[in-house]
Symmetry: C2
Subunit: 204 residues, 2 copies
């Protein structure tokens, strides 16, 4: 699936998708790149360039057929390809993620969870079974996940990352406030919630 799209454009595709889906179908059969740009506070050229990475083609004067553009972005983002994910760390955040319905919109399903707390191992959270972290390797063989979510404390995150990479996981979403090191070919993205809040405060 490696393509020429810059990461920054790729990051904007879900933003367009959310916006397009938020419009009512009756009044918005067509939508122009200009209208999208105004609604999202972006430049029109940028919008057109981003959307050109998907297979969708705008029509002169009328713009894109909204449903076709949605389908093209979803196709590009792989929303229709079912992908298994595993989650490591069933604390407050992990619990929230297991209960979150939004992953299905992108074809992702968290199928198993892992923790090192004996009180949690063997239980179910939002219908997902919690296994011992020691079983992570076996779990990855079982689920064959495309992705893993790391929601453990900072001190444990790198060793969990190493276990995941060793077991063959190629994509990791990390919530621990630490920069994970992984071999080349493994994609790691970080979401540091507290840092995001600090960045906002710094921008005020």
């Amino acid at each position: 699936m490696t393509r020429d799209i810059p990461e920054i454009s790729l990051q904007r595709l879900p933003v367009y998708l959310n916006y397009l889906k938020s419009l009512s179908g009756d009044e918005n059969k067509y939508i122009s790149s200009g209208a999208i740009a105004v609604a999202l506070g972006m430049g029109e050229v940028l919008v057109r360039k981003d959307l050109a990475y998907t297979s969708s083609a705008g029509r002169p004067k009328v713009g894109y057929v909204r449903t076709e553009l949605i389908a093209a972005i979803e196709e590009y983002l792989g929303c229709n390809a079912k992908k298994n994910a595993v989650l490591v760390g069933v604390g407050g955040l992990g619990r929230a993620l297991l209960g979150y319905g939004g992953f299905a919109n992108y074809g992702t399903d968290i199928v198993e969870a892992f923790d090192n707390d004996p009180a949690k191992i063997g239980t179910q959270v939002s219908g997902k079974k919690v296994y011992a972290v020691e079983e992570l390797g076996a779990g990855i063989v079982r689920c064959n996940p495309t992705l893993a979510i790391v929601a453990v404390p900072a001190a444990a995150a790198q060793s969990v990352c190493d276990m995941l990479v060793k077991a063959g996981v190629k994509g990791i979403l990390n919530f621990a406030p630490v920069q994970l090191k992984a071999e080349q070919g493994v994609v790691v993205r970080n979401i540091d919630v507290a840092a995001n809040l600090a960045i906002i405060a710094s921008m005020l």
Copy 2:
């Protein structure tokens, strides 16, 4: 606090901070921009440029004094300035955020929470009282928050954002998968967890 730092550099400061704090003090009195660059897989020029925005100055040959650099980044990010935040939406994610200790590292404290569920209103979650959303305006007068966190479903997010902006909040961290519109001068950052996972899958 408006400064000339590009947002992309600002975003990297917490990454440096986390890395510097992860090092043991005994063996790392000094650290060079080159060593930081290697550890984080970045270019040395970029690291030096980013760090130059803070008041810290590296010394020829030895580099930065690690504790001084940490202090400079923390100062720049306002970690020592106490900032109140309010949270709207006490679902699974909101609950996890209320229990998250990491905000304190950046001087942020979630002081009150708001929800529209009568079963939650009046309860305490991780020691924070939950008020009715209708009381949001009064709560903002009471807490004078620098920041607000929006963790409500997508359909409710814009109206919550409008209430926050009307009440004078200037910084919003939004977890709802929808692009919020706010007047100029209000900083909104979005964390779309499901989209991040889809982006990783698209990059594999």
